[in-house]
């Protein structure tokens, strides 16, 4: 203030000067306030954009285990050798200087190629060839790919060698003078310990190059991550996947990494316990595979008390491990073979004519409505005439009561009483047993099958329903199709006295790394309904099914096993194309033991000889092994753990 007082009384020129200087200094101060206080956020934002790169940190994918904790899909560490670019900037410069002096001597040698990228490529490929010698694996560096990495994400390390074997890992670790900038990086990798095993239920993952943008944060670089596309891997992808973490890499003006900090830890995915019992699954797979070399078929083993699926087999099978990291063209061709269709889940998505096993539903309907009197004798001439059509019977002519008709699978008997029972009752029971509907099993492949009704026929063909259609339905032929899974639900309902369970495959979801914690989620077997059928009908059908297996003339006699009373029904459905018979789809549905049913086994074979000769032995073998498992004499199974 002293200064201004003195200026005031003095001369004008100095007053003008000091006024101008003061004004200018205030202007600077005001602008600094505007930049550093008022609009500071804008500059902080620009600073972050130019000096930070946000990168996701892969989370470890949860396991898929069987009901006893045997891992069916697991994550193992995969070791990669990576190169940190900022550590070898000096060799970039060295190569550059060398090339420049070469160019001075011989300018034409480079054809006008710019030296910078060439120098970087040479520097890195020197390291690659050195590394090749260290781990004794031929390695190459793709020039285009390296250039792209360098220009787009210099802050991230370059992968030089992927998925080292134990031997390569040891060679690398013990090598005393590793090239500069080279280090090991551990990445979780999906592994299927049993290779092709329960593959259709487990599903598979694929490497996703461009993951969907996360809502948590904007990543500058998306890391490749695994995404389940089928089976439990697909349906429970979000649960298994966990949440990727995020880290910020501080970069300099050239984009090289200076330091990094993880500000959001990744959360590992949760483990999923299936209702599948790996021992039964293995038995079922082996039993089905033993039928023929190139078998196409399915097996479903279900617990009729709660709907738990103990084994779900679809043949031919595939190895879910082949999808990662990439599918070879040969593997792709095999997967897409139009005849074998290995990726197709025949157990849940295969819709087949049920053939004679549909007679179980006719029995239920007939016994409940009173149309069938189990003790009534019925004369079978060996054929039946419906309208103008004559349907021949595979069972010999003679006198039939219910039990004999059932175990010999008489078409005449069931068409006769089916027509008597009436279409409405048949459709009502079928529909209550989930025919024509999806059960909702979360494996991402399911068919509803087809339950034909007059309305359906009118909509599809514009034709009225006839008795012939009902007759076809009674013997499981014509437009009706069912899945092996639906047949397991139906057989369970017979075994448990009318309870219709939605099949359950996921038993519980637990947290990874915390086995002592109680399961996060328990999904009880869902009761979808109870059949409105006279309880006496079940025991009559059960007895008939028992006879089918135990009687010497029963069609299912090949399923019989010592020590277990098995009830079953065979089916052999004609598959026609253009009115011509192309093959038989053969069935065997069963449950055991009779006294307290704990297992339902459904076997389907495409193109089998007959239900009794092709499928019943498969079920028999499965029951035999189940007996061993129950008595504890079966050897525990070990994962094959094959490393490529």
């Amino acid at each position: 203030m002293l200064i201004f007082d003195q200026l005031k009384k003095s001369d004008r020129p100095l007053r003008i000067l000091s006024g101008i200087i003061l004004l200018c200094m205030v202007l600077l101060a005001a602008l600094l306030w505007y930049i550093q206080i008022a609009t500071s956020k804008k500059y902080v934002k620009s600073l972050q954009i130019q000096s930070y790169r946000t990168v996701p940190v892969a989370s470890i994918r949860g396991k898929i285990l069987d009901k006893n904790g045997t891992p069916l899909a697991d994550s193992r560490p995969s070791y990669n050798i990576v190169l940190t670019l900022e550590d070898i900037r000096e060799s970039f410069h060295e190569q550059y200087r060398r090339l420049r002096s070469l160019k001075r001597r011989n300018a034409d040698a480079f054809n006008g190629e710019s030296l910078g990228p060439l120098a970087r490529y040479l520097a890195v490929s020197n390291i690659v060839s050195e590394l090749s010698g260290i781990i004794q694996r031929p390695l190459t560096l793709d020039r285009e790919e390296f250039h792209r990495h360098y220009t787009q994400k210099p802050a991230l390390p370059v992968t030089l060698a992927e998925d080292l074997s134990f031997k390569e890992l040891a060679l690398f670790k013990e090598y005393p003078q590793k090239p500069a900038g080279v280090s090991l990086q551990i990445q979780p990798m999906r592994v299927y310990p049993f290779n092709a095993f329960a593959a259709h239920s487990i599903g598979y993952v694929r490497v996703q190059k461009n993951p969907e943008p996360s809502d948590l944060t904007d990543f500058n670089y998306a890391l490749t991550e695994l995404r389940g596309v089928s089976g439990i891997e697909g349906a429970f992808n979000d649960v298994l996947h966990g949440r990727p973490g995020a880290k910020s890499i501080l970069v300099n003006n050239l984009g090289y990494r200076q330091s990094e900090s993880t500000w959001m830890e990744s959360i590992p995915g949760k483990n999923i316990y299936l209702t599948i019992d790996a021992r039964i699954q293995k038995t079922a797979e082996e039993a089905l595979a033993s039928v023929a070399g190139n078998i196409k078929g399915a097996v479903v083993v279900m617990d009729p008390r709660n709907g738990d699926l103990l084994a779900v087999v679809s043949m031919p099978e595939f190895d879910p491990g082949i999808f990662t990291p990439t599918l070879s063209s040969k593997e792709w061709e095999e997967l897409n073979d139009p005849d074998r269709r290995p990726a197709f889940n025949r157990a849940t998505a295969g819709a087949y004519a049920p053939g004679s096993i549909y007679k179980i539903i006719v029995s239920l309907a007939g016994l409940d409505s009173g149309a069938i009197d189990p003790d009534e004798n019925f004369e079978n001439p060996g054929f039946i005439r419906v309208g103008r059509r004559t349907i021949s019977d595979t069972a010999p002519p003679g006198i039939y009561d219910f039990r004999r008709a059932f175990k010999l699978s008489s078409n005449t008997y069931f068409i006769h009483f089916g027509l008597e029972t009436g279409l409405d009752k048949l459709i009502e029971i079928s529909s209550q047993l989930l025919l024509g509907r999806r059960t909702g099993i979360p494996v991402m492949q399911e068919s509803s099958g087809n339950l034909p009704t007059p309305k359906w026929k009118n909509n599809t063909y514009g034709l009225p329903w006839t008795n012939g259609d009902t007759a076809n339905l009674c013997i499981g032929q014509g437009p009706i199709t069912v899945t092996p899974l639906q047949m397991a639900v139906m057989t369970s309902a017979i075994a448990n006295g009318g309870k219709v369970f939605a099949p359950r495959i996921v038993q519980r979801v637990s947290k990874q790394g915390f086995p002592s914690q109680p399961p996060a989620e328990l999904k009880p077997g869902e009761l979808r309904g109870t059949l409105d059928v006279n309880p006496g009908a079940y025991s009559i059908i059960r007895r008939a099914m028992l006879a089918d297996v135990e009687d010497s003339d029963g069609t299912g006699r090949h399923a019989a096993v010592d020590g277990m009373r098995i009830c079953g029904k065979t089916g052999t459905a004609q598959v026609k194309r253009g009115g011509r018979l192309v093959r038989y789809d053969t069935w065997f549905v069963s449950f055991a033991p009779l006294e307290s049913p704990r297992y339902v086994v459904v076997v389907l074979v495409e193109g089998g000889a007959s239900g009794g000769t092709t499928c019943a032995p498969v079920a028999g073998r499965i029951y035999e092994e189940i007996l061993k498992i129950e008595s504890g004499t079966q050897a525990p199974i070990e994962p094959y753990y094959v490393r490529k």
């Binding site: 002293l2 200064i3 003195q6 200026l7 003095s10 020129p13 100095l14 003008i16 000067l17 000091s18 200087i21 003061l22 200018c24 200094m25 202007l27 600077l28 101060a29 602008l31 600094l32 306030w33 930049i35 550093q36 206080i37 609009t39 500071s40 804008k42 500059y43 902080v44 620009s46 600073l47 130019q50 000096s51 501080l250 970069v251 300099n252 003006n253 050239l254 200076q258």
Partner: protein, 408 residues
């Protein structure tokens, strides 16, 4: 004679602390932030401490303080007798620097004379000689200044170094001569009509240069600016480079021009990010990322753009401290010009203060995009021997004027 004055001044303080305090404070800030700006450089990591840039700056401070003390030792009036000789000597040096072989070129400009041990910038020292000579010239009795002949002579004194420095080329340093000359003439009492004419001429000159650079095709330009100077002005005025492309330019050429504009405005963009991201309190000394990560170019962060480093690391609080210290310095200087014993002292103080002020204003201004980028150092804070020594020398002379001030 001087002994007699000392007796008269006995009860008055011998030194003006309002000058000395801000000077020392600024030197401390300068040393700290030059240290911060250079401490993380790989190229300097193996260099011993006595060859580090910050230590060299401290050495320059010591040289400068020695020179300032020496400048206080003799009465400014006796020094001014040599002023014309200094002036012509400097003119000679400015001529010499233009001769290839004597003057050494950096970044396309011939500004330095290499003396083996160190290089110095004659244009910095020329400013001192110029202020001295002009003050000496204008300190004649007031009534003589009314004649146009004297006025034009004074103008000649200004224009001669201006043209020579323009020729280096160093547009920024040259333009500093205009406000300094103008302020000194105003303080000397040159009639206002002359000054109005001078301002008009100066404004015309600047307008001409700008018009030339911004609007005429390159072949027509009669003022030959270096290409980089022209581009700096284009960036400052936010002109789109593509407007200057030949009409038949291909898409690729246009893209190259846009790329170039982006590159050319890089420094100023990064300086703004540094200053703005500092916020109120800054990121802490040595914690600024703009400089450490190399976004603020290493070649300029410790000299022309030292203010960005200060503003980033010490925030608004730090940059205000710097502004306040300079303001105290300027007003103390102006007060000394009031107290000066004669017109010579008054003109010297005004000349040097306006010179320092112009540097401060242009340098801080270019850090916050108020001014175009020119190579003008920030007095006492920027690294550089010539600048430090000249600033301290100028302040020493102001102190000298204070020591021999009039007392009542």
């Amino acid at each position: 004679m001087s002994a007699a004055h000392r007796n008269i001044n006995e009860r008055e303080p011998r030194l003006e602390w309002k000058i000395i305090f801000p000077v020392f404070a600024l030197m401390v800030i300068g040393a700290i932030f030059i240290y911060s700006a250079t401490s993380n450089r790989e190229a300097l990591s193996n260099v011993p401490w006595y060859r580090q840039i910050y230590f060299q700056q401290v050495v320059w401070y010591i040289f400068g303080l020695t020179a300032a003390t020496a400048a206080c030792a003799f009465d400014y009036r006796s020094m001014s007798r040599w002023s014309l000789l200094f002036y012509w000597l400097m003119i000679l040096l400015l001529l010499l620097v233009l001769i290839p072989g004597i003057g050494s070129a950096r970044y396309g400009a011939r500004r330095w004379i290499d003396l083996g041990l160190f290089q110095f910038q004659p244009s910095e020292f020329a400013k001192i000689a110029f202020v001295f000579a002009l003050a000496h010239f204008l300190s004649k009795p007031k009534n003589e200044l009314v004649t146009p002949r004297i006025f034009w002579k004074g103008m000649g004194l200004i224009i001669l170094p201006f043209i020579l420095i323009m020729a280096e080329p160093d547009l920024g340093s040259a333009l500093v001569y205009l406000p300094v000359g103008l302020a000194m003439m105003l303080a000397a009492g040159v009639p206002v009509r002359f000054l109005r004419r001078l301002v008009t001429v100066a404004a015309l000159l600047v307008a001409l240069i700008l018009a030339d650079v911004l609007f005429l095709p390159q072949d027509w330009q009669f003022i030959k600016l270096e290409d980089y100077q022209r581009r700096r002005l284009l960036v400052y005025f936010g002109c789109d480079y593509t407007n200057y492309a030949p009409p038949d330019a291909t898409e690729q050429e246009l893209r190259r021009l846009r790329r170039r504009q982006f590159d050319d405005s890089y420094n100023i963009r990064q300086a703004l990010i540094s200053v703005g991201s500092g916020g109120f309190a800054g990121k802490g000394i040595g914690h600024g990322t703009q400089n450490a990560l190399g976004f603020l170019p290493r070649g300029v962060s410790h000299n022309d753009f030292i203010f960005s480093v200060i503003a980033e690391e010490s925030g608004f609080a730090g940059s205000m401290t710097v502004i306040v210290l300079y303001t105290v310095l300027f007003f103390s200087g102006l007060k000394i010009s009031l107290q000066a014993r004669d017109r010579l002292g008054r003109l010297l103080a005004v000349g040097f203060i306006v010179m320092l002020f112009s540097h401060v204003f242009v340098n801080i201004g270019m850090n916050i995009r108020l001014m175009p980028v020119t190579g003008i150092p920030l007095p006492l804070l920027s690294y550089g021997g010539s600048s430090v020594i000249c600033s301290l020398l100028a302040l020493g002379i102001i102190q000298n004027v204070y020591i021999y001030r009039k007392t009542y």
